[in-house]
């Protein structure tokens, strides 16, 4: 796919007709080539390989059933890896006189009692794989001509990519600038930058959601790859810059004249622009800032940039046990939990963490198979870190009644949520470790 390392000129203008199959590089600028290249491999790979893992999400009944109904189509699409098929809708593109009216999936599959759930089916990212698929589908088939748009993969859900500009706004701005005497060239440049920045955002959303779930990614290689988001990825020494680009999010998402300040680093953050990612984000933050604390950090973090940064900064390791956010359970979960989260998290950033947290505490159906087979390598690292972490945090924690619990070992490991004081001192016995190392 990347035989030529040249930038695609049409893509720069926003109108390359080859799309993903173009032989030139679809990157927004040379500086971003690296990150983009890392994201590029296997644009179609995830479709084929990740399918089997989507089955085990059997936890939610109605929601999942609907997703299942939709899934076969998605798989079908994934296999072809391109082309014009629309899994969500009836058949291919609508020819001029064909009536291709399709109800919105969330509307079609509803039944009276399932309705609230049905709406939720697509409005909550309980199944990250389908979210990913949806995002990929959308981008492949339905990428609109107008690039400076917001995007949400969930129907009626908040936007994944914010900061849209209408063409009237662009035009008004151009007229203004023309009046002020700016040469046409600079106006055009500005618009092009806007467009490129936005395209970068889309690319990052797409690649970040795909990244860790693709087994075809090389094992260790997946680590940096998943972190491909411009500023995040790169090196972990990017800590400080990451924080600063964070602050630019506010400016960046409000386009208009401010848009020009979007740097490559910013777009990635804007995707995650939603502070609802906090829980997950926090513990992992340090990973970025301080390479020595990988802990949860992982690779799956594309999502983590946000607003959670500051809180993180204050709450370093010790606070794992007592998370500053509302998720005490997160900090010291069992390996199974942690692994699952990672596996599940990567997917589509935004909505995911919230949902998984909810689901975690409510049911114990970990899609272990998913995480173990897909994120094996990532998990391995996370497990190691996690074990190290839990040992340490428990040391920091309040007195642990390990003596008392010795005879009830199993129950402690099977618990969903550890309250302060319950956290075991040692590693879980082998039988409770749900991941294969």
């Amino acid at each position: 796919m990347n035989r030529r390392q040249e930038l695609c000129r049409n893509f720069q203008r926003g109108s390359c007709k080859y799309g993903a199959q173009c032989r030139y590089l679809h990157a927004t600028s040379n500086q971003q080539q690296q990150q983009q290249q890392q994201a590029k491999p296997n644009p179609f790979g995830f479709g084929a390989a990740s399918r089997p893992q989507q089955q085990p999400f059997g936890a939610q009944s109605q929601q999942f059933q609907q997703q299942q109904q939709q899934q076969p189509n998605r798989f079908g699409f994934g296999v072809q890896g391109g082309g014009a098929s629309q899994p969500r809708n009836a058949a291919g593109p609508a020819m001029p006189f064909q009536n291709k009216w399709v109800r919105d999936p969330s509307a079609t599959t509803k039944q009276p009692e399932a309705q609230p759930a049905a709406q939720a089916a697509h409005t909550s990212c309980t199944d990250p794989a389908s979210c990913r698929q949806q995002i990929a589908d959308d981008f492949k088939n339905e990428a609109p001509l107008w690039k400076l748009t917001c995007y949400a993969h969930l129907r009626s859900g908040p936007c994944d990519i914010t900061g849209d500009v209408s063409y009237e706004e662009l035009r008004a701005k151009a007229y203004e600038q023309g009046k002020q005497g700016h040469p046409l060239q600079s106006i055009v440049e500005g618009e092009r930058n806007l467009q490129n920045a936005k395209l970068a955002e889309f690319n990052t959303l797409l690649s970040s959601t795909r990244a860790s779930q693709t087994p075809s990614f090389p094992t260790v290689g997946s680590f940096p790859e998943v972190k491909n988001n411009a500023s995040f990825g790169g090196s972990q020494t990017n800590g400080p810059p990451v924080f600063t680009s964070f602050n630019q999010i506010g400016a960046a998402t409000n386009l208009g004249s401010g848009a020009r300040t979007t740097t490559p680093g910013v777009p990635t953050n804007t995707i995650f622009g939603q502070p609802t990612l906090p829980a997950f984000g926090q513990p992992t933050q340090p990973a970025f800032g301080q390479p020595t604390q990988p802990a949860f950090g992982q690779p799956t973090q594309p999502a983590f940039g946000q607003a959670t940064q500051p809180t993180f900064g204050q709450s370093t390791r010790p606070t794992f046990g007592q998370s500053t956010t509302s998720t005490p359970s997160f900090a010291a979960p069992t390996f199974g939990n942690a692994g699952m989260k990672f596996g599940v998290q990567d997917a589509s950033g935004n909505q995911m963490p919230r949902q998984t947290f909810g689901s975690m505490s409510s049911n114990s159906n970990f899609p272990n198979s998913t995480s173990s087979s897909n994120n094996r390598d990532i998990d391995r690292q996370s497990q190691e870190l996690l074990s190290g972490m839990t040992a340490r945090t428990s040391a920091v924690e309040a007195p642990v009644e390990d003596k008392k619990n010795e005879n009830q070992d199993d129950s402690i490991w099977l618990k969903e949520k550890w309250t302060i004081g319950q956290i075991p001192m040692d590693e879980p016995p082998q039988r409770h470790v749900s991941h294969v190392f």
């Binding site: 109108s15 990428a143 001509l145 107008w146 748009t149 151009a174």
Partner: protein
């Protein structure tokens, strides 16, 4: 294609409206003017109202006056017979839409400063801001407004949709999100006031209803339109304008691909496709009885500043065939 309107604006058309009480057409344009035409006679009427900035929207008040929303942040009342304009008030940012509510007697404007404001047009000649009734904050920049009876639908950037009851503007009646995935371009309420249609940049129109009960939610749907096959790709064009036929309830959509289609929302069928216009459709409007359709074929800057075919306005005589709804064949229950 219809007749071309004589003396169209010299720059892009931002919006055009037919009057509710006659066949006059008000056209606002990027050349900073608002022009009034007699559509049947195909000629301009009265003086050209020049503003200080591009005019982004216009609407009629009665046959004698109208309102304009301009990028110079000012909302103006235009008196056609007197050929003069008065300042109603201003926003902090460019005013992107203006609507007049006949039921409430208020002018509602939406702006890129993330607010909508309600004005009393009678307060025009008083001190500044005398006409302002209220300001209401929106989550994002307002892109489009539509009224139906007492319901006001505001569509903003970021896919937010707020539904207000004009009688109780203190807070939105409903705060929803568009159930399309991409940026909203336009919103238009059904003439029967049960819901609204949303057009987005991804070549889709969502038909949504105010009723948020289970029954109402099951009726909503979205359909794809304005997508062209170009070579081996499908190019997805934004839907720029939606307008409803006043009596039939069917509607026409215009997209940046230059096509205008008419649809029957009830039976979910496409009724008619008009021949392709030279450039994108910026605005559409049915006349008060639905016998005329004004189409603004005007480049909307979709691809930046490039050379484009000249902007024109076409007035079509509407054939019943093009807009009459087609009831579903073989209804389940035979009606007596």
């Amino acid at each position: 294609m219809g007749r071309e309107l004589a003396h169209p604006p010299k720059d892009g058309v931002s919006n055009l409206r037919f009057s509710r009480s006659s066949d006059r057409l008000l056209v606002s344009s990027w050349e900073k003017t608002v022009r009034l035409y007699d559509a049947r006679a195909n000629e301009p009427v009265g003086v050209v109202f020049t503003h200080k900035g591009p005019v982004l929207d216009c609407c009629f008040h009665d046959d004698d006056s109208g309102f304009s929303a301009s990028a110079d942040h000012v909302v103006r009342r235009l008196a056609f017979i007197a050929d003069s304009s008065y300042r109603l008030g201003s926003h902090v940012g460019p005013v992107s839409c203006v609507e007049y509510s006949y039921d409430q007697g208020q002018v509602i404007t939406g702006s890129w400063d993330k607010t909508i404001k309600c004005w009393d047009p009678r307060g025009v000649n008083g001190p500044q801001e005398h006409a302002l009734i209220g300001t209401h904050n929106q989550p994002e920049r307002v892109y489009s407004l539509s009224l139906a009876g007492y319901k006001l639908v505001v569509a903003t950037a970021g896919r937010h949709v707020n539904v207000y009851d004009l009688r109780r503007m203190s807070e939105p009646e409903q705060q929803r999100m568009s159930f399309l995935s991409y940026q909203t371009r336009c919103v238009e309420c059904y003439p029967n006031g049960t819901g609204f249609a949303l057009g987005s940049v991804e070549g889709r129109v969502a038909m949504d209803f105010f009723d948020q009960t289970a029954a109402g939610l099951s009726k909503r749907y979205a359909f794809k339109c304005h997508r062209l096959n170009e070579g081996r790709r499908i190019v997805v064009y934004p839907v720029n304008a939606i307008t409803f036929h006043p009596s039939y309830g069917t509607f026409a959509t215009g997209g940046a691909d230059g096509f205008v289609y008419t649809w029957d929302g009830e039976s979910k069928k496409k009724l008619f496709q008009y021949p392709k216009h030279e450039t994108s459709i910026a605005a559409l409007s049915f006349s008060r009885d639905g016998s005329l359709l004004a189409v603004a074929s005007s480049y909307t800057y979709l691809k930046g500043d490039i050379d484009h075919p000249p902007d024109k306005i076409f007035i079509r005589d509407v054939n019943d065939l093009e807009v009459k709804p087609r009831p579903k064949l073989f209804p389940k229950f035979a009606s007596a």
